[in-house]
């Protein structure tokens, strides 16, 4: 498979996953705000999750619901709209690789957002809009699973998806915990239970968490579940071991496998004792550095070439 095409598949996987995750955090937090009308800074934490604080400030002066939602739904940086249109562009230029229905699916989602995006800005239409986005993302993922051969192309899509998912889980955990552990934000202490539930819901993890952890919802268990659980699909450890499986199906996988193994070891560190604001943040930083390293290794192994004698030797 051509490197250029592999790269497009990888980013297609990432962008579809990004669109889905962004839709979910907006949906969950819109619900949450109705329970916590006095807590204002929830909106700014959504921008923190995306890591686009600077871009947001360049564009808006006030951090309020209206602006944040506009930024996350329709702007050019980390919005659902931009993620879907990037995914579409990647699919468009590699249509001969994916099942035709997948192209049609992403195209339809793109058109839906273009035509109905405004509807998501107001609370009245938001739930319906986001549910449709989520459901179309799920359809697409399911369609690929059901109709695409488990070959090189599909493994690149999955690799992108799992890396993006692991990345989003670390971000949501990080920001969610910061809010809760920050003792200056005393007003939140009363809602501790609701907020931890919110972190779980942002990752669609609440139900699975309850089945897995018998105790009441508490910070240590939530962090442990989201980072280290091997079976929950959005837990970082699970995403990493899935990425490992994808690599096994690819040629030249050695370097990437090493970097994934390194990340798995990092995640395996005993978290519970680390759970203070400062330490946890550093810990998640470490994981994120590992994820960035995996991405770089992927790019170096498969997407870009330096022509040297070694490479030529293997080619002949």
């Amino acid at each position: 498979m051509l490197s250029r095409v592999a790269e497009k598949m990888y980013w297609f996987g990432r962008y579809v996953e990004r669109a889905e995750n962004t839709a979910r955090i907006i949906n969950v937090n819109t619900n949450l705000i109705m329970d916590l009308p006095r807590v204002k800074h929830i909106w700014s934490s959504l921008i923190e999750i995306t890591g686009c604080e600077q871009e947001f400030q360049n564009r808006f002066t006030v951090v309020d619901e209206r602006n944040v939602i506009k930024f996350l739904l329709l702007d050019d940086f980390h919005s659902i709209k931009s993620a879907v249109s990037n995914a579409r562009e990647n699919a468009r230029t590699s249509r001969e690789i994916m099942p035709t229905e997948a192209w049609e699916g992403i195209n339809e989602l793109h058109l839906y957002i273009k035509n109905n995006g405004e509807q998501g800005l107001k609370r009245t239409g938001r739930h319906e809009f986001l549910s449709e986005v989520l459901s179309q993302c799920h359809q697409l993922t399911g369609l690929l699973a059901g109709s695409m051969s488990d070959d090189v192309a599909y493994n690149f899509i999955k690799l992108g998806r799992h890396l993006e998912r692991a990345d989003m889980t670390t971000r949501i955990t990080d920001v969610g915990c910061l809010n809760l552990l920050d003792t200056t934000r005393i007003e939140l202490q009363d809602y501790d239970n609701i907020l931890w539930m919110n972190v779980l819901r942002s990752l669609n993890a609440y139900q699975m968490y309850r089945q897995n952890v018998q105790d009441r919802v508490n910070g240590e268990d939530v962090v442990d579940f989201l980072l280290k659980n091997r079976k929950f699909p959005r837990a970082v450890a699970h995403c990493l071991s899935e990425a490992q499986v994808c690599c096994d199906a690819l040629p030249n996988e050695d370097q990437t496998l090493r970097s994934i193994t390194h990340a798995i070891r990092t995640v395996d560190t005993d978290v519970i004792r680390l759970l203070t604001e400062h330490k946890l943040h550093n810990f998640i930083d470490d994981i994120q550095l590992d994820l960035a390293d995996i991405h770089n290794t992927i790019a170096a192994s498969w997407f870009s070439y330096k022509i040297n004698e070694d490479v030529l030797d293997t080619a002949n």
Partner: protein
Amino acid sequence: MDLKNYKIPPRVFDEMLTDKNRARPGLTALVNYLRKMKDADMTERSRKAEMAIRTMGITFTVYSEGENIDREWPFDIIPRAIHESEWRTIEKGLRQRLTALNLFITDIYNDEKIIKDKVVPRDLLRSSKDFRPECRGMNPLFNTWAHVCGSDLVRGSDGTMYVLEDNLRVPSGVSYMLENRNISKQILPELFERHDILPVDDYPTQLFDTLSSISPRPLDYPEVVVLTPGIYNSAYFEHSYLAQRMGAELVEGSDLVVAEDDCVYMKTVEGLSRVDVIYRRIDDLFLDPEVFNKDSTLGVPGLMRAWKKGNVALANAPGAGVADDKVVYTYVPDMIRYYLNEDPILPNVPSYMCSEPLHQKHVLQNLESLVVKPANESGGYGMYIGPRESKRRTAEMKRLIKANPRNYIAQPIIDLSTVPTYCDGAIEARHVDLRPFILSGSKSYITAGGLTRVALVRGSLVVNSSQGGGSKDTWILATPEQK
């Protein structure tokens, strides 16, 4: 459908009906079928064809209002039929023409015999935009330069098929020919029971075999790739379509690299992988920034070096376009006589070369009744159609011809033949042309028929899809009709 009011424009040959509205020989069954079809049925089938085109995603890209728009391929469901007996002669004519053209290209990049023997003036090449001095001394395998050619044929008022032009650079349209057949099989299946229609769908296999045959390495499975300028090219659909049907990689310039050993490699996830044959769908001047256009990002640095060393085959070969020039075109009948010692089977459209003083005088005096074409444009751009132009444009044209006579040829207006076409609820006569595709490699192959393009606007002679043209399925009928 009612054909009583079917009007054939004056002095025009209709391919299905005579001027008494009777079916032409062998087409009775087809005409009766159309006559019997209910209006509503016709509308329904036409709508189904549109739906099929939408779901199959058959598009072409037009550049309009500053952006690229993917449009659905315009298709008319009434087929255009040609008898096999006539077709065999056309085929022979095309084969003869291509043989002569390939000999001509080899000759002018090597011995220049045809120039030394004063059959073709030397000036002609010097002023041709597509003559590539870089190709001097090259002898591609089988002496074939134009591996894929699309020649445009038109039928005049007396029923004669003329060659209007030969496209030897990167002719497109063959994917639409294939898809048109797929659609008409879906929409008019019962007609295929009653007629014996020659198949067209072996084209991708034939193309692959032709390309494989010119591989510099004698392998069972040489690596053949299709080189596209990318998604924004108007023929991208076709590039991707042909790559898929041939099982070849669709590559962009940035996917390829010429290494120290002057061989071409593509960058894959498994490492660099050697490429043997490149079916390139980008123009000469963008092929290699080291030799041609320095700013081209579409091409591959070093590609010409690799080609000249014989490490990779390019189809069509660089420099093949020299025989595609509209002035060179006027010499093709002479080439056939010169190289093959045969009379041309297919006639050219009579042409006046503005560079010759006598011709130029005639052209300037009769401009209002002539078609003037720039020597080196495609897609119908820059064309001047005498009877339809304003006085201002005519004056401008006169000025242009005087300023640069080499750049223009003029032809009498050929009233292209018509074929019944379904337009807004009625069947009306619309003008058509025909583009068959000719493959040349270790052996040659000609599509059974080709792409029929139809000018959908009443009275219009412009069939280009970028300018309101549509298309029809083209049938070569093996037996006249079932009793």
